[in-house]
């Protein structure tokens, strides 16, 4: 096998684009149902009547059984952490989204540490990712029991589920 490397000096470039923002998609009304549930402080999942799996956010078909998941059920707002990640301290210019810096827009606070977690709510066979709130990084562990922190005034949107917090003995 012949060894091939840069045989010539760099050549010039020509430009072009792909208008990925000009696309459009169609989606089912499942997130609408899910968000409506959040307004009533309920986490809605879909249940497969074939294998009995409960998936949240709801999904409308089960690949395992190759059938529709028309049943809906309400899950407990208590759950278990199945996985977590601890971020380094938030710095400016590190996490840009669509060209905007979340520190500038106030979405993230400078120097805060974020703990995104996977939570398996009781009764579900799937994870939901959200933030762990009111907890120190060193006390997080897999298997930790948590409960939902709801927005003060749920508006029926995804952000109503602000995150989860540890269940503390009273």
């Amino acid at each position: 096998m012949a060894y091939l490397k840069d045989e010539r000096p760099e050549t010039m470039m020509v430009e072009g684009d792909w208008q990925v923002g000009a696309y459009r998609w169609k989606a089912p009304r499942l997130l609408e149902e899910f968000s409506a549930g959040l307004k009533e402080k309920k986490i809605i999942g879909s249940m497969c009547m074939g294998c009995g799996k409960v998936i949240t956010q709801p999904r409308h078909l089960c690949g395992r059984c190759h059938r529709r998941m028309d049943e809906r059920c309400v899950l407990s707002d208590w759950g278990t952490i199945t996985c977590f990640v601890i971020s380094p301290k938030v710095e400016k210019g590190k996490y840009k989204l669509f060209g905007m810096d979340p520190v500038d827009t106030g979405t993230l606070k400078l120097g805060e540490i974020l703990i995104p977690v996977f939570v398996r709510f009781d009764g579900a066979d799937s994870n939901i990712n959200c933030l762990l709130l009111n907890a120190k990084p060193e006390e997080v562990s897999i298997g930790m029991r948590v409960k939902v922190v709801w927005a003060k005034e749920p508006k029926g949107q995804m952000a109503d589920l602000e995150g989860v917090e540890p269940i503390r003995e009273k």
């Binding site: 091939l4 840069d6 792909w18 696309y23 609408e32 949240t56 395992r64 979405t107 994870n127």
Partner: protein, 413 residues
């Protein structure tokens, strides 16, 4: 009937972060020419061209229609296969199927990626486009931006793999230092592979440990690069292979099974029924089917070498277990003992693997190619000291749910 077929020629380009000297067409062509030269044939002998890359990264839709002129498509049957991260593996298997079915006697499988053609680092917009429809959808339902940034952006490039690594570490007891060891091994091995990208001769785990943590447990030193490169294999049926090649690398078994989406999301922001993304049922099934086809009953004993698709070090450990090379949860112990080193009992990713060289579309084909080189004894500096009779090449992609598993051997089925 599965007609015996083998890899008789391999070609790849030097991988670097910028191959500005060539256009993407010329890049792919270099690999094809190298493979044809290696096999000692010309384009006239080729019956079918199987090609693939990830088109969103290069910005050209169906690039084989244009650059087919460089890689031998005109006047020939040509199939374009693209399955995300496993593209290369699917292309290699496609080339095998075209010959094994009896349709063509000689086929080439070529895969390439030229990340530097994209203006963004790592072609992020192209990559984000996997779930862009989902994202825009969720944003209209008031997705918490805080949550979004925390879960996706914090992980940066490591986003999908970092959770998987956490799951694995929790269930196996593997520690962060073991990831350092795997990454150091990859860079060390890559230094012996003249085509590899991130080369670091005599890299030690301590060196990796000095790099900054991006999201625990991953450090900068753990992350794969974005490379420009192409690779190509020539596949021939038994008679041709025996005539042209002293030691062909025979296809013994192949499978590409898919599990449910592993990363939290299905289409339109639905959930998925996989709790643990390090479980990798698709890989277990693929390995099982490929071994059965190859007549392998005990992979732990019969496999001499593995080339694993490991953009992140944790994945080398996870997939070596799921491929049945070690018992569940023990891969890191074997790695710690040096069993997977280049001169170990079961060398893994001796080319440096994807952790050192990642031209996404071509990465999985390179695994097949490197396994073939080891069987042929043509790997050069990174040739393992022992005789390689059976090797397994693995590919991984999709939303961590697609697997290709290819078993190669030194004698036909």
């Amino acid at each position: 009937m599965f007609r015996n077929c083998a890899i008789i020629g391999c070609g790849q380009t030097k991988h670097t972060s910028r191959r500005r000297d060539v256009s993407v067409a010329e890049l792919a062509q270099q690999a094809v020419q190298a493979a044809l030269d290696d096999a000692g044939i010309t384009m006239k002998d080729v019956g079918c061209v199987v090609s693939g890359n990830m088109q969103g990264f290069g910005g050209v839709a169906q690039p084989e229609q244009w650059l087919g002129d460089w890689i031998g498509c005109p006047g020939k049957p040509a199939i374009r296969i693209a399955t995300g991260g496993t593209t290369g593996g699917s292309v290699g298997q496609g080339a095998c199927y075209t010959v094994a079915s009896g349709m063509y006697d000689v086929s080439i499988g070529v895969a390439w990626e030229k990340h530097s053609d994209s203006k963004e680092a790592g072609a992020t917009t192209g990559l984000m486009h996997v779930g862009m429809g989902n994202l825009f959808h969720a944003l209209t339902y008031g997705l918490s931006l805080r949550n979004l940034i925390a879960t996706s952006a914090v992980g940066a490039a490591a986003g999908v793999a970092v959770y998987q690594a956490m799951f694995y570490m929790h269930r196996s007891g593997c520690k962060q230092e073991h990831l350092d060891m795997v990454a150091a091994k990859a860079r060390r091995n890559a230094a012996k592979n003249q085509y590899a990208h991130l080369q670091w001769p005599n890299c030690r785990p301590e060196d990796i440990a000095k790099t900054e943590t991006i999201a625990w447990p991953f450090r900068y030193g753990h992350v794969c690069p974005a490379s420009d490169g192409a690779s190509c294999i020539v596949v021939a049926e038994e008679k041709t292979a025996k005539r042209l090649c002293k030691q062909p690398a025979w296809f013994l078994g192949l499978a590409s099974y898919s599990d449910e989406e592993n990363q939290l999301q299905s289409e339109n922001f639905g959930g998925v029924g996989v709790i643990d993304p390090s479980e990798q049922m698709g890989c277990r099934v693929s390995a099982k089917k490929a071994y059965a086809m190859a007549g392998i009953t005990d992979p732990q004993k019969e496999i001499d070498l593995a080339e694993i698709y490991q953009p992140f070090p944790s994945q080398e450990l996870i997939f070596s277990e799921r491929l049945g090379l070690f018992d569940d949860g023990t891969a890191w112990r074997h790695m710690e003992k040096g069993e997977t080193d280049i001169n170990g009992r079961l060398p893994i990713s001796v080319s440096g693997g994807v952790n050192a060289t990642n031209a996404i579309g071509s990465s999985a084909l390179q695994r097949i190619l490197e396994a073939a080189l080891q069987i042929q004894g043509k790997a050069g500096e990174h040739q393992v000291p022992k005789k390689v009779r059976k090797a397994v090449a693995h590919g991984w992609g999709g939303v961590t749910n697609y697997i290709t598993c290819t078993v190669l051997g030194d004698s036909p089925r």
